[in-house]
């Protein structure tokens, strides 16, 4: 029998995330990138709940959870304490989209305005998943959630995703990026950059949720890739407010992404909603134009 070698994991087995959970993978990858000299500040949400039911903790780095909305403020206090104690640990905030886009806005805005040194990693599964899939400011247009359900008079969530990266860049964040669990090396690079760049940095990580979006757990990575390939999720970097790098794609029609998930099923069954699908396609097209997504294929 071949001998088993263990990788250095800072996010341990035995956590209670759903099988195939995108956020759990994000936790692994972020902590790998961050290393042992890290203090993690976690908001209330899926990640905090599936990783720390007393007395079982999956975290092998110092970790703190306070409340839903205040991770940025807690991190501000830790940063101040470390400064006065002359300590060098880095601070990484891990918060879901609910904690980031909605309830945490005040605290985030304050912390970014004050310019504290931390890396804020938002794992974006596009709804309040821990409480049973309610819409957040990150829920995409037409996604069905329990508080923005598709129905006789509704196509689901009425609003597009709030542009958090732009908001935080406007606060003067020196480094802002979007990433995806579909591209783990890229994700880890961006997390590293966010940690080593002085000041408040932000990385928004797309973390598809099989339970909330309605797909088989083995499709998590594939769907994350499709989000990027259709232009509905853009992987980019911003340095001092200017977009510096974008992942270009040979774009697929948005339909290929939408039809994989139950949260968009109402756009296809009982009948195709062409106008809605076209609306979503237009959003992807606008992304392509704004970020220069399309790889120009050489014409023969």
């Amino acid at each position: 029998m071949a001998e088993k070698k263990k990788t250095c994991e800072l996010f341990d087995c035995g956590h209670r995330a759903c099988g195939g959970c995108g956020a759990a993978l994000a936790a692994r990858l972020v902590t790998q990138a961050a290393g042992t000299e890290t203090i993690v500040v976690n908001s209330t949400g899926c990640m905090e709940v599936f990783s720390t039911p007393y007395p079982e903790t999956a975290w092998k780095v110092p970790w703190i959870h306070s409340l839903f909305e205040n991770a940025s403020a807690v991190a501000s206090g830790i940063e101040a304490a470390l400064k006065k104690q002359g300590r060098k640990e880095k601070i990484v905030i891990m918060a879901g989209d609910g904690a980031t886009f909605d309830i945490g806005m005040i605290c985030i805005s304050g912390a970014f305005e004050r310019g504290h040194d931390f890396a804020y990693i938002c794992y974006d599964n596009e709804a309040y998943m821990n409480t049973g899939i309610q819409r957040s400011g990150a829920t995409p247009y037409d996604a069905s959630t329990t508080t923005s359900p598709a129905g006789k008079f509704s196509f689901g969530n009425k609003r597009p995703k709030k542009d958090m990266p732009a908001i935080l860049a406007a606060h003067g964040a020196p480094y802002v990026a979007t990433a995806s669990i579909a591209y783990p090396a890229d994700l880890k690079q961006k997390v590293e950059k966010a940690i080593t760049t002085p000041g408040p940095c932000y990385v928004q990580v797309h973390a598809p949720c099989c339970t909330g979006w309605g797909f088989e757990g083995n499709q998590t990575i594939a769907i994350a890739k499709l989000a990027i390939e259709t232009g509905l999720w853009v992987n980019f970097e911003m340095v001092d407010g200017k977009v510096t790098k974008v992942k270009k794609v040979v774009r697929k029609p948005v339909e290929e992404y939408l039809k994989t998930q139950k949260r968009f099923r109402h756009l296809f069954k009982p009948q195709r909603q062409d106008a809605e699908i076209a609306h979503i396609q237009a959003m992807a097209d606008r992304n392509a134009e704004k970020y220069g997504l399309d790889i120009k294929l050489r014409k023969e």
């Binding site: 071949a2 995108g22 990858l29 007395p55 083995n218 499709q219 998590t220």
Partner: protein, 86 residues
Amino acid sequence: MTLAVGCRARPGKSRDNKTGSWRVFKPSFDHEKCSKCGMCQTLCPEGCVHEDAEGFSDPDYTYCKGCGICATECPKEAITMNQEEK
């Protein structure tokens, strides 16, 4: 076990929770096909796929939830999911 003041804990206890019991489908890893790319180790949400001394990948069945991401993503289709006999 007395309570830790403030609801705190040191690392390690999550391993008491043997999530392998959640499994319906079990992955089997074919080392003949395995190219040692390590993608399965990278992408496992549990972090329970490990590299052996020869560089091949193997899951830790104590914690593997049988999600099947490794099988879907393996570029060599070296991992197959089969319904587990209980």
